[in-house]
């Protein structure tokens, strides 16, 4: 019976979004209550599923009770549970922060938000490649709406870029799926893991093209250089809560890379084993460098945050590219902390830049300026990876995982030098913002800081601090996750031979 819970993270936002659009579209306060309640429920479910996945056994849910390679499956393993929990936490923070000023700028914010959660949760849970495409589309369609929420010429222009690049990405995804299906005859990920080693030698080239096209798609999603150009204008011109929620979207790309290239094209994929590995590590290093250059060149706070998100994706991809248990575990830890930190930074930027159209320097800071300066300081420390916060622990673990002789020459200089440059970039922006900028008492006209987003940013800082304090237990879980990923036999067995498959539904 426990496997029925797997559909809940998909079902809650789907039904909530429909309810919000159809029944409550005229009542903003009603929308807020329902949306917050639904998001809290998702968070509780995610915690429950995390505990459920903690037994180390992947759980499969057969939609419509169709047996595995023919129907669509949802699979919960440790990785999916970790990402669900992260998405739940982030969503809860963002929905609270959005209440007040930001969800009033346009209609249907909460419905779009719930649709986006539907796509995100589904993408983490699905065990089918085509279904992954469908959930990608769901989260993208919702993100187009959220990105454009509130309107404005600049947002529309950036939105056009965002939609166009993602449409191209979807097309490439379909080409890749077609190639994979043509050579293997299946799209179920567990079944693919079985079939890929058996592909005839003549089809290896086609399948390799499919596999690398998939990497291209996930590279667009995760803003890997040179496919990162869409990110700064998109995140920089959208509303702060939408940008904060989008912090998880790049991680959806990273999640897909981890899932596909450990499960399907992992160590046991025969001739195609580790096909993406030669690309991910160099791409990660280049992404890290480009993100850092962007941070140094950034002319305002939002540019800085956007490019630091790219830099953190680079760090994450470097860790994934190490293709070891320690590297994957460090990558997951770093992913959790960088998602929370960048979401916090976007929300903080939203508070500080209120009334400037999101660009440039704020005319005056909301009092108490020292509180916001302190929050910026803490989040910047977490983002660049200085002790004592979790960013440092994450980077330290990545450095530790990259000690192998073949990797140390590229990984260590890249991470250490860019960390220094990131400190310079964040320090410069902080000085300009809080010391050289107008102080809170520079103008008599009072700017009341919104209370709820401030509380949420403080909560995110506390969560990041908690992640630093609990780094030991967290890393134990992450290491177990990485071990489970690198030994996919039980995942395959759970999907293809589920214990409940023969049980008749209902009576």
């Amino acid at each position: 019976m426990t496997s029925q819970w797997l559909i809940v993270p998909v079902a809650i936002p789907a039904m909530t979004a429909a309810l919000l659009v159809l029944a409550m579209r005229h009542s903003l306060s009603g929308q807020r209550i329902v949306s917050v309640a639904a998001t809290a429920l998702q968070l509780v479910t995610a915690i429950g599923l995390y505990v459920l996945a903690g037994d180390g056994e992947p759980h499969a849910y057969l939609l419509g009770n169709w047996p595995a390679p023919f129907g669509i499956v949802l699979v919960l393993d440790r990785l999916a549970a970790t990402m669900l929990l992260l998405a739940g936490l982030l969503a809860f923070a963002v929905v609270l922060a959005a209440i007040g000023a930001w969800d009033r700028r346009g209609r249907h914010f909460h419905a779009l938000f719930q649709f986006q959660m539907l796509g995100i949760n589904g993408a983490f849970l699905t065990g089918d490649l085509f279904n992954l495409f469908v959930f990608f589309e769901v989260l993208l369609i919702a993100s187009y709406g959220l990105m454009l929420h509130g309107g404005g010429a600049r947002r529309l222009k950036a939105g056009f870029h965002y939609v166009a690049i993602n449409l191209i990405g979807s097309t490439v995804f379909l080409f890749a799926v077609g190639l994979v299906y043509a050579t293997t005859g299946t799209l179920n990920m567990a079944d693919l893991a079985v079939k890929v080693p058996q592909v005839a030698a003549g089809d290896h080239a086609l399948l390799a093209v499919g596999a690398l096209l998939l990497l291209t798609v996930f590279a667009i999603k995760s803003a890997m250089v040179p496919l990162h150009w869409w990110l700064p204008p998109t995140y920089g011109s959208t509303s702060p809560p939408a940008a904060a929620l989008f912090a998880i979207m790049t991680k959806v790309g990273a999640y897909s890379i981890i899932r596909v290239y450990t499960l399907i094209f992992g160590a046991e994929a025969g001739a195609l084993a580790g096909i993406a590995a030669p690309w991910i590590l160099p791409a990660g290093i280049v992404t890290l460098l480009f993100g850092t250059i962007g941070v140094l060149a950034g002319r305002n706070l939002l540019d800085l945050i956007c490019y630091s998100v790219i830099a953190s994706m680079g760090t994450l991809l470097v860790a994934v590219g190490l293709t070891s248990t320690a590297g994957l575990a460090a990558a997951l830890y770093y992913a959790v902390q960088s998602t929370l930190t960048s979401a916090g930074l976007f929300l903080l930027a939203g508070i500080l830049l209120e009334g400037t159209g999101g660009r440039g320097s704020p005319a005056r800071l909301p009092p108490p300026a020292s509180l916001y300066a302190g929050l910026y300081f803490l989040l910047a420390i977490a983002m660049v990876g200085m002790p004592p916060l979790a960013g440092f622990i994450g980077k330290f673990l990545i450095l530790d995982a990259g000690r192998a002789a073949s990797q140390i020459a590229s990984v260590w200089p890249a991470i250490l030098v860019t960390s220094l440059l990131l400190i310079v970039g964040f320090t410069r922006t902080g000085i300009r913002l809080f010391w050289n900028g107008p102080g809170a008492d520079a103008t008599p006209a009072l700017r009341v800081a919104p209370l709820l987003p401030t509380v949420v940013v403080i909560g995110i800082v506390v969560a990041v601090a908690g992640l630093s304090v609990l780094a030991g237990p967290a890393m134990n879980d992450m290491t177990a996750t990485a071990e489970q990923l690198l030994a996919p036999q039980r995942y395959i067995a759970a999907v293809l031979r589920p214990r409940l498959a023969s049980a008749p539904p209902g009576e």
Binding site: F130, V134, E137, I141, Y144, L148, G152, A153, R154, L156, K157, A158, G159, F160, H161, V163, A164, L167, I168, S170, T171, L174, F175, V177, G178, L179, Y181, A182, P233, N300, T356, G357, G358, R359, G360, S361, A363, R432
Partner: protein, 125 residues
């Protein structure tokens, strides 16, 4: 054999046209290019089930073989999704055109141009 050649060149031509149009600077050709790309991928997915003539889409005893129905189901899903997406981007480019008055996909933040209205509020540094 000629059928395969026709399909392959057709998909190639559609993709090439789509790519060329996407690289243009105005939003109208970009939208048309995306449509061409989606046509190309739909035909491509369809062909991935292999070209078979006069075969039923289900396994039966009366026919000597079958054609794979799954790619057609995939194409159907892909058509629905790309249709919705195309509708969205058409509305989006129309809105952008109406708000800014130019059918240009650039963000207008080049240094030699007057930045967009929101950027004007930047304090001098």
């Amino acid at each position: 054999m000629s059928m395969e050649l026709l399909m392959a060149t057709g998909i190639g031509a559609l993709t090439a046209v789509g790519l060329y149009l996407i690289l243009l600077r105005r939003s109208f050709p970009v939208v048309i290019g995306l449509t061409f790309l989606s046509y190309a991928v739909n035909v491509f997915l369809f062909v991935m089930g292999r070209l078979a003539v006069d075969r039923p889409p289900i396994v039966g005893t009366s026919a000597d073989g079958y054609t794979d129905p799954l790619p057609q189901a995939l194409v159907l899903t892909a058509i629905v999704i790309t249709f919705g997406m195309t509708a969205l981007i058409v509305v989006l480019s129309l809105r952008a055109f109406l708000e800014t008055g130019v059918d240009d996909v650039t963000l207008g933040i080049r240094p030699d141009e007057e930045p967009s209205d929101t950027a004007r509020s930047e304090a001098p540094r």
